[in-house]
């Protein structure tokens, strides 16, 4: 004998029995808890190098393209002799020449 569902204000045709619905709700809660746990584990990490630890990184020796004209000229020489170009990290790259 089927569990009556007519008491529901919106009777659903083919709706699962009440004990099965309860199990589904429980399953969903577990999945939601797992997702929440995983998301909290995946939350963005805190910056691990503090500003006061970046003194060495700020030294000019750590910058490759220290001087704009020099970098531009070196890139120009490569542009006119090699087919590869781009992804140099130099802003507005390109040779602008034939």
């Amino acid at each position: 004998m089927n569990t009556p569902v007519a008491a529901s204000p919106l009777p659903l045709e083919g709706a699962p029995p009440a004990d099965r619905r309860s199990r589904i709700r429980g399953g969903r809660l577990v999945i939601a808890w797992l997702v929440a746990t995983m998301l909290s584990a995946c939350a963005a990490p805190e910056p691990w190098v503090k500003p006061y630890e970046r003194e060495r990184l700020a030294d000019p020796i750590m910058r490759l393209n220290r001087d704009a004209l020099s970098a531009k000229h070196s890139e120009h020489v490569r542009d006119i002799s090699e087919a590869a170009r781009g992804a140099t990290g130099v802003q507005g790259g390109g040779c602008g020449c034939k």
């Binding site: 805190e46 190098v49 060495r56 020796i61 000229h73 590869a84 992804a87 390109g94």
Partner: protein, 372 residues
């Protein structure tokens, strides 16, 4: 509303949008004010000498900030070229020409973003280029991550000396994105990606190809699509020295694939000298339609050695000297840089003697930089 105010609001809105996107991507963003590049002036003399080509000239750059929000940069660059390269001496007559290039850029700091709008113009007797670029850089993740986006569009007007009836155009688009990440108090790493698209006349009006041994005008496709990705790491070695290593992979729909590997070392010598040295290896495969001497007739054919199969080893060094310094007022440095190139072509012959062609070239830069 004044035009400058309207542009300012546009830039602010764009920066807010970018900031919002990055802010959503990095949940622990700490608000940091972007800083403008320092006031700076550079003056350089450059020389390239190799393979029968000598190109030299002066270049200057001046950058000055206004009201802590905007920085203006103006630059000029001259190439005086004397060309007797193997392409020229085997098919035409050596020539001299000049290329003038002007650039103007505006940096605008808004919240934690730095926006750079730049325009450029380059002029040769038979070739003119106009370009505009927009770059946006933003620090995020507590200042540990720097993200940059950029776009350039350039238009070329192509002519031909001695043929006033010839005229063509080319348009270039470049889209770039980069991420620089602080890894430790001593190490930085970055990834740059760039997509490029070219349309129009992409060959050289003077260059000839060889088909069955006969010289014919080169035929190059009118479109090209290219990609490049570069990985780089820089590390402080702890003895007032540092090293860097990088790798770039390039590929395009002309079937060119190129690898670039570079490693370098920098070291302070005493209180006033900084020395840099690097070695770079570059290798590429040939374009589909490249042929040293084609044995079949095809729609496209080129003997442009830049599109051939070759490798290039570059060794370079630079010395920077702290010339004069007045703390809080100015800092003047003198620099001398040398690069030696050694290019070996694997499928490009010197038609004068039938041997595989190779060239050695030297690049010299002498320049002064001042921050103030």
């Amino acid at each position: 509303m004044a035009a400058s105010e309207r542009i300012g609001r546009w830039l602010a809105a764009l920066a807010s949008l970018i900031g919002g996107v990055f802010g959503a991507a990095f949940a622990t963003v700490a608000a940091r004010a972007a800083t403008l590049p320092e006031n700076r002036a550079e003056a350089m003399v450059h020389v390239y000498d190799g393979g029968g080509v000598t190109a030299s000239g002066p270049a200057v750059l001046v950058r000055k900030s206004l009201a802590d929000k905007v920085s203006l940069t103006g630059s000029y660059y001259l190439d005086a070229v004397s060309n007797a390269s193997i392409d020229v001496v085997t098919t035409a007559s050596p020539y001299n020409e000049r290329r003038n290039e002007f650039g103007l850029a505006v940096d605008y700091a808004v919240r934690d973003s730095l926006l750079t709008l730049a325009v450029g113009a380059s002029s040769e007797p038979d070739y003119d280029t106009r370009s505009v670029s927009l770059d946006i850089a933003q620090e995020t993740f507590g200042g540990m991550t720097s993200v940059s986006l950029g776009f350039t569009r350039a238009t070329d007007e192509v002519g031909k000396t001695g043929d006033p009836g010839f005229h063509d155009q080319a348009t270039h688009w470049q889209y770039r994105v980069g991420v620089t990440q602080i890894l430790t108090p001593k190490w930085l790493a970055s990834v740059n990606l760039e997509a490029m698209s070219d349309s129009g006349y992409l060959g050289n009006v003077y260059r000839v190809a060889r088909v069955f041994g006969a010289a014919v005008p080169e035929q190059v496709p009118r479109t090209r699509s290219s990609r490049a990705v570069k990985f780089r790491a820089v590390g402080d070695l702890g003895q007032r020295d540092a090293m860097h290593a990088e790798y770039r992979y390039f590929w395009d729909n002309w079937d060119i694939k190129a690898h670039t590997v570079e490693a370098g070392y920098s070291r302070y010598l005493g209180q006033s000298l900084l020395a840099d040295g690097f070695i770079r290896y570059y290798t590429q495969s040939a374009a589909l339609f490249y042929s040293d001497n084609a044995q079949t007739e095809t729609t496209y054919v080129s003997r442009n050695r830049q599109l051939s199969d070759f490798d290039n080893v570059v060794v370079g060094g630079k010395l920077s000297y702290d010339w004069k310094k007045q703390p809080g007022q100015y800092d003047l440095k003198a620099h001398a840089a040398v690069e030696l190139l050694n290019v070996k072509y694997h499928n490009f012959t010197d038609i004068r003697d039938g041997s595989l062609y190779s060239l050695r070239a030297a690049v010299l830069q002498l320049y002064l930089t001042a921050t103030y």
